[in-house]
Amino acid sequence: MMEQIITCINCPVGCRMTVTLSDAGDVLSVSGNTCPRGEKYARQECTLPERVITAVIPAEGSATPLSVKTKQPVPKKMIFDVMEELRKVHVSPPVQIGQVIIHNVLNTGSDIVATRNLDITDR
């Protein structure tokens, strides 16, 4: 059995929660939250913490790099692996907002999509 301390991020109160986990990593109990959103967040954070990643990748033929994001949150432990994948990508204008840049990055179930347009005349 182990205990993890989590700060809730859902609202500015920032409840400090204590999560008790079994040796196998299952959540046994959550305390310290003042609303159900807190418990939900604590459970997720302690079992499979996820994050949306946002970054930029250089675009050939464009002075402005392309801003991208993971369409869904991906496992937190894979953040730098995903960043590594981004380094392998080559993009160039035109790019449309929402365009898929990498399908299902590292099998996470999330695409990497463009979050801005890159027009050909982009300077």
């Binding site: 930029v56 250089p58 380094r87 392998k88």
Partner: protein, 485 residues
């Protein structure tokens, strides 16, 4: 590399540039070396910007002589070169009977030195002229001929005038050694050796070092650091004149002064430090300025502070300038120990040393001079009609780069293209004011960097802020580079 020239000037501060400009009127080859990456990298860019009237220097001293002579030259010189200068006037304020006596002494000394218009004012008269003064003052000395100038802009202008008339400026050339051999001076820098018939030492804080390379009698210099506060234009209405405090047993006091661009300056400190290149500001120094400046300006607030800076001046034990031929060194001349009133004295020192050098070389005056390229009127001073016309001639006037000071792309490009043009972020800043406003370059610096990159045909990564090694960027977020790393 080995290079030959008639005259080698060490130091491209306001004194060195003044000498260079005056020498460019004569038919001889002139080269200027500076350790820095641009003109005015030493004390010239970090001083009070005051053109002193000349009451402060001891009568009969070289400081007094050159101060008064130099100050007289300022109005016409700045007019001809398009350098911002204003006869703002000054008050020296007194808080006690001792101070009042000091004011009388200063006035008498000023009269002896040739300063005009000095007058002791009553407390009421002083407060009427400057209502924000500490009401505890008992009297003030009115100094109507005191002026304010942009010291580095003066140096740039002198350098440009010298350059169009043949003077060569070489940067990042700190002098390591000087020797006299075969009637020539041999000057060594890290990568080069220069050979000249005339050597002129205008090396500011390092002038004693150069002097000591030439003569046996070692000159001891004290490196005196002065720190400052610079307040935003919103604070400029506080005083219209430079306000000096009376020198007393407590020390020299600090000044509170409008600058020629409408900012407010507080300072300087006077700390003797070992390292002539240590221009850091310190908590103690900055706090000291506030404590002292509050005496002049009780409502002092640093809310409007936009930057702090400091400069190092060379102070000699003799407490006077050394200007002229170096003893027992034929063809060597110097301007050593140039601290306040160095800026005020620069035009007169330049004339004297240039004349002496030209005489030594027996160089005749040039029959024709190339005209000085007067810089265009700054966009932020143009009226609507002038702005329309400027854009019509050059669409780069339509792009404002520095929003705080309203500086356009046209002016920034022009500053880079000057005879001794800007090659750095700070070089652009000091020539155009881009980055000197409220946001201190937060908005415009990336744009200035892009223009420098384009004009100088260098990568954005190679743009520097000021000196070599002051890179503003580390690396591109580059897929290829990362992969190959």
């Amino acid at each position: 590399m080995k290079m030959n020239t008639d005259v080698l000037i060490i130091g491209a501060g306001v004194v060195g540039c003044s000498v260079a400009r005056e020498l460019s009127r004569f038919d001889c080859g002139v080269m200027v070396l500076d350790r820095g990456n641009d003109i005015a990298e030493g004390a010239t860019k970090a001083n009070s910007g005051i053109v002193h009237a000349g009451y402060d220097a001891v009568s009969g001293s070289r400081k007094a002589h050159y101060n008064v002579a130099g100050a007289r030259l300022f109005p016409a010189l700045c007019e001809a070169l398009g350098v911002p200068y204003r006869r703002a006037g000054a008050l020296v304020i007194a808080f006690s009977d001792e101070d009042k006596e000091t004011l009388v002494r200063l006035m008498e000394r000023g009269n002896t030195n040739g300063v005009e218009g000095l007058r002791i004012l009553s407390r009421e008269e002083a407060l009427q002229l400057e209502p924000n003064l500490n009401p505890d003052i008992v009297a003030a000395l009115d100094v109507p001929t005191s002026g304010i100038v942009s010291p580095y802009e003066l140096a740039f202008a002198l350098a440009d005038d010298a350059a169009v008339n043949g003077v060569e400026f070489r940067f990042n050339e700190a002098v390591e050694s000087v020797r006299f051999e075969d009637q020539r001076y041999w000057v060594r820098t890290a990568g080069n050796e220069y050979c000249c018939r005339v050597l002129i030492n205008c090396a500011g804080a390092s002038s004693a070092f150069i002097h000591n390379q030439l003569t046996g009698e070692a000159l001891k210099t004290i490196h005196r650091r002065g720190q400052y506060y610079l307040l935003d234009r919103s604070a400029s209405a506080v005083f219209s004149r430079t306000i000096f405090q009376c020198p007393s047993v407590m020390g020299k006091g600090v000044l509170v002064s409008p600058t020629v661009h409408g900012n407010l300056l507080l300072g300087p400190t006077a700390e003797d430090i070992p390292d002539p290149l240590d221009t850091a500001t310190t908590r103690e120094g900055l706090d000291d300025i506030l404590k002292k400046a509050a005496r002049t300006w009780p409502a002092l607030s640093t809310r409007a502070n936009i930057t702090n800076f400091s400069g190092i001046r060379a102070h000699l034990e003799s407490d006077d300038f050394m200007v002229g031929p170096v003893q027992d060194c034929p063809g060597a001349f110097e301007a050593a120990g140039i601290e306040s009133p160095g800026l005020s004295s620069a035009p007169a020192i330049g004339l004297d040393l240039a004349t002496q050098a030209a005489d030594y070389l027996q160089a005749p005056r040039k029959k024709e001079l190339k005209p000085y390229p007067v810089p265009p009127k700054p966009f932020n001073q143009m009226n609507d009609e002038e702005r329309k016309a400027a854009w019509q001639a050059d669409p780069d006037y339509g792009t404002v780069i520095c929003r705080c000071e309203v500086v356009t792309e046209a002016e920034i490009r022009a500053a880079i293209r000057r005879p001794v043009g800007a090659r750095t972020i700070d070089g652009v800043k000091r020539r155009t004011r881009a980055g000197m406003g409220r946001c201190q370059g937060g908005f415009c610096m990336p744009r200035v960097a892009a223009i420098l990159s384009e004009e100088l045909h260098i990568g954005l990564k190679d743009v520097v802020k000021d000196g070599i090694g002051s890179y503003i960027l580390d690396s591109a977020i580059d897929a290829e580079a990362e992969r190959n790393a």
